[in-house]
Symmetry: C2
Subunit: 454 residues, 2 copies
């Protein structure tokens, strides 16, 4: 292949065409998602680099895949044959933390945990905490509207985005939103780009709302004989008007996987656990007592309230190990269906039936307070029959999520992995609307073509 | 004029062409906004009526102005010559209140206060509380992304909209969003329609997130010698990490106007007041003590904490009287600029200078906690010189808001009144993006043409 012309338009070292380097950037963390052979990798250092790249790609009708740290789970950042990989991870500066207005302005490549730590030094709190927070970037979080454990009380990434700088398909630079707490001047362009998975523009700067730091949380853990009991406790507790800062679920296989890495001191006979936190300070013991009552009313076999915050932090670290613990057992295929809370028990029971029917190992954890669960198929990738069964089980869980009045994706996005399924969740008019919006902003279809919808 | 064909397509009584009836629906509450002579008024009873109307209007390229209770303050619901007024106020049913999932499904014509009262009977809370809440509809609130006093703690209308049913320009019915707490399947179409002021579709059903009922709030009022001192106290208090459930500002002319209607028992020599509330129950006295400290640190001459919630409710009723109190003094032209909180003091001082320069009476109240103020010019509409001066002062306040890093509209919307100003707040690329989105969904330009942008 001849030397791509884009290399000469960018500063030295920004663009590379070396196949060995390109190979390292071809895939995100999704399974079963094809990735093509890209022609160029651009590691943008500035908005100008992004503008140059898009102008060239627009003029030459070359597909561009924007990507951050490639920690996504739906293949949206995977390479396209002959296209440009436009990586934003080197644009990684926290440009501003404004304590008085409680906002931060960041470049897209800033890693979530670094931002959270930076603003914490200023007495502020950036809640969105996807499981990937130690390695994923804010740009990627915004592009997928990432969630996490905080959402039950504080909301998702979109709820913290006040404004964006976006480079449009033809290289023009758009500013959306505002720095002020409120504003209704024109359409909500910010929200249109949040969660659009790189199909409408390339995000180059983000203005984020922050919150005052919360109190160090107190933690409780409730043990249940069955996953369904735990799910009923979730619906009961939140339906009664409580708002814990965390309400997480782990089933028995998940607890076993984590226990192999860290001694949790949990009883042997559990079917599932719920972990609840309260960050309201003096009122926290009372909030956790209410949680205990809800759990016991739904059949909890025991409830333990951690006496000090450090114990709770250990427990949360264990919860955050789930992904690693599952990956030690095999390849993983992670669903992220989200259902109405009252249907959670049906969801976990249905997931168990699906696992049995397909003879696959299933481990289920999730943000139960939001109805957002991560049933995870664990399988041997080298065994084609197992891989095929895993894929079928993964898809049946999406069908179940839809049947229960939910969505195929609560926080991971559609990407390539769930593209065919988007058409089952949305109707024809909604898909038409997506196409119209996409065509209106990217008429040549160069931005992450074929992702999210066909 | 001949009998419009649309009348025969709709059920009896749904559409009328009687000029006397039409006249009553021609205007919203905005001043200085032209309204045309409409051909037909459709008072839709069902989605089918809306579909029929839009199909006909689309086929015949007739402009359609959607409207609710016409309480808007920017002229977005004003009639267009020869067009259809499509009024949704008769679609006024609360279709569902789901206590377990904490959501409500409503038709657009439900009045805000009625919804709030209905969900309160179920132990739930619908926070958005625009000043018009006793008379404005949820559909109108959604179409303008209305705010209110709750926003400083709970956010704006958009933050409570989970999903919509929207009739598109050509009469197709679109469903956006979801019932679940989270969901990222496709673009955030819901947010695109929220705040779009009737230019992208006609909202026929709304799924709203609710919150658990809060504790009955406690209230404090702080008195200041100058408006600037009060504004500094706002920035100081929120910058220190406090989150009152209400933080409202009234200047001296506003307090005087309200005092003429209700005895507030305020001291005679005040320059401005702040009203703060806390709805956190047992922690409320502590939150209000923190407010008192912030206020005194910024020069408050006195701070009074109401001993019981009833006193606070009287004070809030007084705050809600502001609009009526101002209208007793003359015609009013209400700005709703929103600035970063640290610029609030500059805003109120600048507004005073503008009032003096133009020789107009200015009364300023607002949602100071959000930086969202309502400087209100009060004038004699029958005096052309005064009216012209009022209009100039109104515009200079928008210029000031922009100069201070803010927005021309924090919660009232652009409509007709601020259309020319939108082009000063947004740049060319942002305006291009608006046009592209509008054209992609309403290629014939029949939906509220000429509103928001040109």
């Amino acid at each position: 292949m001849s030397r791509p012309a884009l290399l000469d338009l960018l500063p030295d070292g920004v663009a590379v065409a070396d196949p060995d380097v390109l190979a390292a950037y071809r895939n995100d963390h999704a399974q079963f998602c094809p990735s093509g052979t890209p022609a160029v990798l651009v590691r943008a250092r500035s908005v100008d680099d992004v503008v140059t790249t898009l102008r060239w790609a627009h003029a030459n009708r070359v597909p561009v895949v924007p990507q951050g740290a490639r920690t996504g789970l739906s293949g949206a950042a995977n390479a396209i044959d002959g296209g440009v990989l436009l990586c934003l991870e080197k644009m990684d500066r926290v440009l501003e933390v404004d304590t008085e207005e409680q906002l931060a302005v960041v470049q897209p490549g800033v890693v979530n945990a670094r931002l959270a730590a930076t603003v914490a030094e200023h007495g502020l709190y950036y809640p969105p905490d996807p499981g990937s927070r130690d390695i994923s970037t804010i740009g990627g979080n915004v592009a997928t509207n990432a969630g996490g454990m905080c959402c039950v009380k504080y909301g998702v990434t979109a709820d913290f985005v006040r404004g964006l700088q976006v480079v449009l398909a033809d290289g023009r630079v758009l500013r959306t939103g505002r720095r002020t707490a409120k504003g209704v001047a024109g359409y909500d362009l910010t929200r249109l780009f949040v969660g659009s998975e790189g199909t409408l523009g390339v995000i180059t700067e983000i203005t984020l709302a922050l919150r005052p730091a919360t109190q160090r949380p107190l933690t409780a853990v409730a043990f249940f004989a069955t996953p369904a009991d735990a799910c009923r406790a979730v619906a009961h507790h939140l339906g009664a008007g409580h708002r814990p800062s965390v309400l997480e679920f782990m089933d028995r296989p998940t607890v076993d996987a984590v226990s192999a890495m860290a001694d949790l001191g949990f009883p042997d006979d559990l079917g599932a656990v719920l972990i609840a936190q309260s960050d309201v300070g003096a009122g926290a013991p009372e909030e956790l007592r209410a949680f205990e009552l809800s759990a016991r009313a739904c059949g909890a076999t025991d409830v333990v309230v951690a006496d000090d915050p450090a114990e709770g932090e250990l427990l949360m670290r264990a919860r955050r190990l789930v992904g690693h613990a599952q990956e030690r057992l095999g390849a993983t295929l992670v669903d992220d269906v989200c259902v109405p809370r009252r249907r959670l028990a049906e969801l976990v029971e249905g997931v168990a039936r699906i696992a049995e029917a397909h003879g696959v190992l299933m481990s289920c954890a999730g943000h139960a307070g939001d109805g957002n669960m991560h049933p995870t198929v664990i399988f041997d990738k080298s065994d084609p029959a197992q891989a095929a069964a895993a894929e079928r089980a993964f898809e049946e869980i999406m069908r179940l999520g839809l049947d229960l009045g939910g969505t195929i994706t609560g926080e991971h996005g559609v990407g390539v992995l769930k593209r065919e399924w988007l058409a089952r969740e949305l109707d024809e008019t909604a898909l038409w609307t997506h196409h119209q919006l996409k065509n209106s902003l990217d008429p040549r279809g160069i931005l992450n073509p074929g992702r999210v919808f066909g």
